[in-house]
């Protein structure tokens, strides 16, 4: 008797819960600035942005928000663009691609923003860029560099950062270049099934295998995994010389490091696609002694000598506090989006998406705190430089490529965990 009633109740209940979830999700995005039309030249230029201020990418979303805001502050402090102030309209997608799609639809068709900037991650950029393309908006972004973004065949996407697939190449080539006596013999590649991580891992694996580095572990895990213990333990059991982890966030990287430390497994090199680049958040999660020697590829670090980089770090510390090491590369990626957009607007002399798209496709080389920016027909930044970074005694420093004068102090083998 009870089971029938219970079952009927359960279905009703699930229905109510689903409806409530949909309702609350719909109400979930909130605006942080008021809307303003951009028709007259005295009016501010309104830029619509959806960011993951909740959900899996919330930490990156916050860093992106900071980067966009710092750029807008800087522009407005210097008289704006073409004499117009910049106003950001930022809404949250809670790391949900469907919500990102809805947000951009709303920003363009209801709020009538003048321009759109990209969200965070390859996952969220794809739906965002599709909506922007539908309405003829340029989608200038800094963290949607996965091959799947460019495979959409969209003409309006411009990623100011380096194409993701090449990110691990400097590290893989460096290992391959080591003399046989120093070159690692084995490597393990655990990676999440994310469009950001897998392309990087696969390309690097190919380079390392060609150099004779044997693959002893390669497995893909779902992004919904919360307990990494069995995967990390299986990697530790291989005793691989090198671990290349395909991670998108701090929790994944820290879970593997914690398990490796517990298993007393010390690979000669540990590099992750994401996590160690998150400044103080990464240090808080793993502790400075465990961070020592961990590596991550990226296009920027707080000590970068690119024009405007030092000023960005200074402005960040002045506004948000902390130290230079705490400034995440996400901040620079977002800031670069603003810089590239500003140069495009100033060159075409008006806030016009079609003119901006044409200009960015013209083969012109622009500048950003991450270095030079030049787009190919797909919207990839072909001029981007990729470096390898390592945590060395609490400092996040550039160590690869060795040929770059700014690279120094590479620790190999890395110190043991906790040392």
């Amino acid at each position: 008797m009870r089971s029938k009633v219970g079952r009927s109740r359960l279905f009703r209940t699930l229905g109510v819960a689903a409806s409530a979830g949909a309702l609350l999700a719909a109400c979930g995005s909130s605006s942080s600035a008021s809307t303003s039309g951009g028709g007259a030249s005295s009016k501010p230029i309104v830029i619509g942005i959806s960011l993951p201020l909740g959900g899996d990418f919330s930490a990156d979303g916050l860093a992106f928000k900071q980067g966009y805001q710092l750029w807008a502050d800087n522009v407005n402090a210097h008289g704006g663009i073409l004499g117009r102030q910049v106003q950001l309209k930022i809404v949250s997608d809670n790391s949900d691609p469907a919500q990102a799609q809805t947000d951009y639809q709303q920003l363009i068709t209801v709020d009538h923003v003048d321009l759109t900037f990209g969200p965070f991650s390859t996952l969220l950029t794809i739906p965002a860029a599709k909506v922007a393309a539908r309405y003829g908006y340029a989608m200038i972004e800094g963290a949607g560099g996965g091959p799947t973004v460019f495979a959409q065949g969209l003409h309006n996407v411009f990623d100011v950062s380096a194409p993701v697939a090449n990110a691990m190449v400097p590290f893989a080539k460096w290992l391959a270049s080591l003399p046989p006596s120093q070159r690692p013999k084995t490597a393990a590649y655990p990676t999440s099934n994310d469009p950001f991580t897998e392309p990087q891992i696969l390309l690097a694996k190919k380079i390392m295998e060609a150099a004779g580095i044997k693959t002893v572990y390669f497995n893909v895990f779902g992004s919904e995994v919360t307990d990494f213990t069995p995967i990390a333990s299986a990697v530790a059991a291989t005793n691989a010389d090198v671990v290349m982890l395909g991670s998108v966030d701090v929790p994944t990287a820290s879970a593997f490091i914690q398990d490796f430390a517990q298993q007393h497994y010390n690979p000669k090199a540990f590099i992750a696609t994401g996590g160690p680049d998150q400044g103080s958040q990464f240090i808080q999660a793993v502790g400075q002694s465990n961070a020592n020697g961990t590596m991550v590829p990226n296009t920027w670090y707080p000590g970068a000598k690119t024009p405007g980089s030092a000023a960005l770090v200074q402005a960040y510390i002045a506004k948000y506090g902390g130290t230079a090491s705490a400034v995440s590369a996400d901040v620079a990626e977002a800031y670069s989006v603003g810089q590239v957009t500003q140069q495009a607007i100033e060159h075409v002399g008006k806030v016009n998406n079609q003119a901006i798209i044409s200009y960015l496709h013209s083969g012109v080389t622009l500048t950003s705190v991450q270095g030079p920016v030049k787009f190919n027909a797909l919207g990839e930044n072909t001029a981007a430089l990729i470096f390898g970074f390592q945590w060395v005694n609490g400092n996040f420093q550039q160590v690869l490529p060795l040929s770059d004068p700014a690279s120094s102090g590479l620790q190999y083998p890395k110190p043991n965990w906790g040392a």
Partner: protein
């Protein structure tokens, strides 16, 4: 091969105990009140943040801090029951309780996000990264301690449920609230205390979770589906079932991850649920089994 098998089983058992700590409160609350507390995930995270505050700002050891966090969470649970759940009408109580606990989850998540920000935190102590070497296997202290804590707390819950006057009242309310009222049991009081206990146990689960995983306010989203799966598999309302199902699920997941692929581990987690429910619709320790204990 054998070594890999043993290691996977050890991983599964130790990780399973952490999930048991997190799921026990959920199943207890459902068993007595037929309330599916979808705020359980964020309560786990709240427990982790409370331990974080005590550890970082007052220097209190994570396990010692439970002496403070468990009563605090108990009071919060009683407050939720008294302030919100008890005000719901009987007719639509089950469905409305999901809405109410969902609202509690949203409010708590927003508050934690506001207070602590989206930056990830992790609880630290000497035993978090250390391990003991036993018969060729490294057993992380945090998981071993977490396992012992789960045994002690779930054992205590079992004792309360089946060896005390309050437990008899609670089980009477679990079986038939109207009849329980007729024989003089203060069902509202029992419900409030049960909700309090259910949330209090979560403090321990949150502490161990926070010591083994980086977390922020949004980390609850991935947790709740797994916790619901565990209590459905174990039999909703069964404390032993929550423990058994947690261990079973995590062992299966660890074995699949080790011998097949992590890609399939999560899928198998849910496939096991489907298979078990097809054979035993009430779960491993369904209502009948619970009442017979």
């Amino acid at each position: 091969m054998v070594t890999d098998f043993i290691r996977a089983v050890i991983d599964g058992v130790l990780s399973g105990s952490v999930y048991a700590l997190m799921a026990a409160g959920l199943t207890l609350i459902f068993g007595v009140m037929e309330v599916i507390n979808v705020a359980q995930g964020i309560l786990v995270i709240l427990g982790a943040y409370l331990s974080y505050v005590l550890s970082v700002h007052l220097g209190i050891d994570l396990f010692a801090g439970l002496i403070i966090t468990i009563p605090v969470m108990f009071i919060l649970g009683v407050g939720i029951q008294w302030g919100l759940m008890s005000r719901l009408g009987e007719r639509e109580k089950v469905s409305m309780s999901i809405l109410v606990t969902y609202a509690v989850a949203i409010i708590l998540e927003g508050a934690l996000d506001l207070i602590f920000g989206p930056s990830y935190q992790q609880l630290t102590a000497w035993y978090v990264n250390q391990s003991m070497h036993v018969l060729g296997f490294y057993l992380p202290y945090i998981y071993v301690f977490g396992f012992l804590l789960a045994v002690v707390l779930l054992g205590a819950l079992y004792f309360i449920l089946y060896r005390t006057e309050f437990g008899r009242s609670l089980r009477a309310a679990q079986q038939n609230r109207t009849a329980a009222r007729l024989i003089g049991i203060d069902v509202n009081r029992v419900s409030a205390i049960t909700f309090g206990i259910g949330v209090a146990v979560t403090a321990a689960g949150g502490m161990v979770f926070g010591a083994t995983t980086s977390f922020n306010a949004n980390s609850s989203a991935d947790l709740i589906s797994r916790l619901l799966t565990i209590i459905i598999l174990g039999g909703m309302g069964s404390i032993g079932g929550a423990m058994g199902a947690s261990v079973l699920m995590l062992v299966v997941e660890a074995l699949v991850s080790t011998f097949w692929s992590p890609t399939w581990a999560t899928l198998v987690f849910y496939a096991v649920l489907v298979v078990v429910l097809a054979v035993r619709p009430a779960g491993l320790f369904g209502q009948k089994a619970v009442r017979a204990q």
